[in-house]
Symmetry: C2
């Protein structure tokens, strides 16, 4: 009675020429378009809108994970049913509407520059529009750190301000480090040197006029508290968004894509400026997230990039929330 | 230097009254609206559009899983960071555009009837419109089985045909069973009796005029092959959508929500008409999906409801695809 083998079913299919004539009317055209990439959920009285900026398609080089051979990365990708040799890294800025402030947390890769030939990123503005968020209504942009995929979206065409009415709230230690010419002169790798130069490109005089440094361990705006999570970069900050008894830990790059770097917290990602400190931070944050059963929003998590984590093997495994038809 | 304890961070937050004055302009209103619930991907030359019909909020009774105490179900929900005592079961019909045919696979819970007081389902038409799919352009509706959440969407207000130009392709054994008055007279439970009666409510004379039974093991339309997967209901069918070398196994209700019933293939869901046969089918299909590393689309998977499965513990664990900004 049962016939559930794929091969048998396909053989059956091949034996049948066609069971139905052509439809009487023209076939409906295929759409080719994805749904808009935003997702809303609530944290107490605060409304969160995850706004996808796209997904990279970055070729995986030999130093993608510094302390692990590329073959091991590919084996992991295969176990995840993902394409090998490619890092499909998602980018997910978040809009936080506290009812008093409208805040963007990190800005994505920007519409100009940074787009790789294969990547499908730079989509923040497109998805903000789909979500009904006016860039001019944003009060504040909170940056976690100064890598290009987090800051490049501050400026648009002709170096215009992408969020013209926003204060730009930056981790004090991060700003000091990347804007220091002495530190730049001591850049230990071409990649880090390029990050210094990119920060100078993005931090135009118009942007710098709006920059206000913030301290970790304090509220950045009411309801959003900064937490120092150094290692990925020297002044890297995460944030806790709270309302009433509810909160979410917005982790920025404590891990890059969790399916690689939370599962394997000992992997040293090529973009970690201090990989040993980054690993220590990662383990401490993830142990806390597990112990507190705390909701986590991850910039490089697969969209909608919000969920929980559990201990799994020698690392941690993300459990994304079930998509909900209402926020 | 580091301060990543949640409690410390929150204590720090409380010590600061407010770091910023009110914005000069009125606060932006919260949206309260979710993104539209559709998702596109390709299988060879065929375009798949998953169209979410919502998510149930079904109170979990003592017989929710017949052979497992409710406390064990709740323990599983807690491990998944989900609300206890509630079955948040997603509904995900799929539109298949082969380039020649535009096909809807299962119809969701319908806009009338079936809506629970707490449920947020009956959203198929809303999400079809968002996806740009005209119900009148659908050539064929393929049904997997006759439970209300799969067939009720066939009819709209005043028993009108929801898909007025579609043939309604039904599993021959399923149609014969549920439309047989003798079988109805032998219904072993009130729930099964209600399924017989609901089938008669939905299968109006106008619907029955358009019904064409299909056989398992054969193509239903070119590119879509039916596979008998009995147990959940007597004539329950799954389908393999193929194009070139690519295919996806559209499993219907081989498992209900995989986070409960694929992880625990031995759990006998209250809606399985023959739970022993359903379990045998489930294990056979999931062993095949694992062995073949085959893409699977699940009606009750969390939206977008497409991914792979791996063996995990005594069962199987779903790995949803990473959301992609392009189909």
């Amino acid at each position: 009675m049962m016939n559930i083998s794929r091969r048998e079913a396909l053989a059956g299919a091949l034996a049948i020429a066609s069971t139905q004539g052509s439809p009487a009317r023209a076939a409906a055209p295929q759409s080719g378009k994805q749904a808009p990439g935003y997702y809303r959920y609530r944290v107490g009285d605060t409304e969160m809108t995850v706004v996808n900026d796209g997904v990279s398609r970055m070729p995986i080089g030999d130093d993608f994970v510094r302390n692990v051979p590329k073959a091991q990365v590919n084996a992991m990708l295969e176990s995840l049913f993902m394409e090998k040799d490619i890092y499909a890294g998602p980018y997910n800025p978040v809009v936080v509407n506290t009812g008093k402030n409208l805040v963007l947390m990190d800005t994505g890769t920007g519409e100009a520059g940074f787009k790789s030939s294969e990547g499908i990123n730079g989509r923040l503005m497109l998805n903000l529009a789909a979500a009904g968020v006016d860039p001019a209504a944003i009060d504040a942009v909170i940056l976690s750190h100064y890598h290009g995929d987090h800051i490049n979206g501050l400026i648009g065409a002709g170096n215009s301000l992408a969020f013209p009415n926003a204060e730009i709230l930056v981790p004090e230690a991060e700003h000091r480090f990347w804007m220091d010419d002495g530190e730049m002169s001591r850049a230990s790798t071409p990649r880090i040197d390029a990050t210094f130069k990119n920060a100078r490109r993005v931090m135009t005089p118009e942007v710098l006029k709006r920059v206000r440094p913030y301290q970790s361990g304090k509220e950045v705006i009411p309801g959003v508290t900064a937490v120092a999570t150094p290692g990925h970069t020297p002044g890297h900050c995460s944030h806790i968004v709270s309302s009433g008894a509810k909160s979410v830990y917005v982790q920025a790059d404590v891990t890059h894509a969790p399916f690689l770097f939370a599962r394997n917290p000992g992997w040293h990602f090529m973009l970690d400026v201090d990989p040993v400190a980054a690993e220590a931070t990662r383990r401490e944050v993830y142990d806390m997230l597990c112990a507190e059963r705390m909701l986590v929003q991850g910039f490089h998590y697969p969209f909608p990039a919000v969920g929980h984590v559990e201990k799994s093997g020698g690392g941690y495994r993300e459990i994304l929330v079930q998509w909900s038809p209402t926020p």
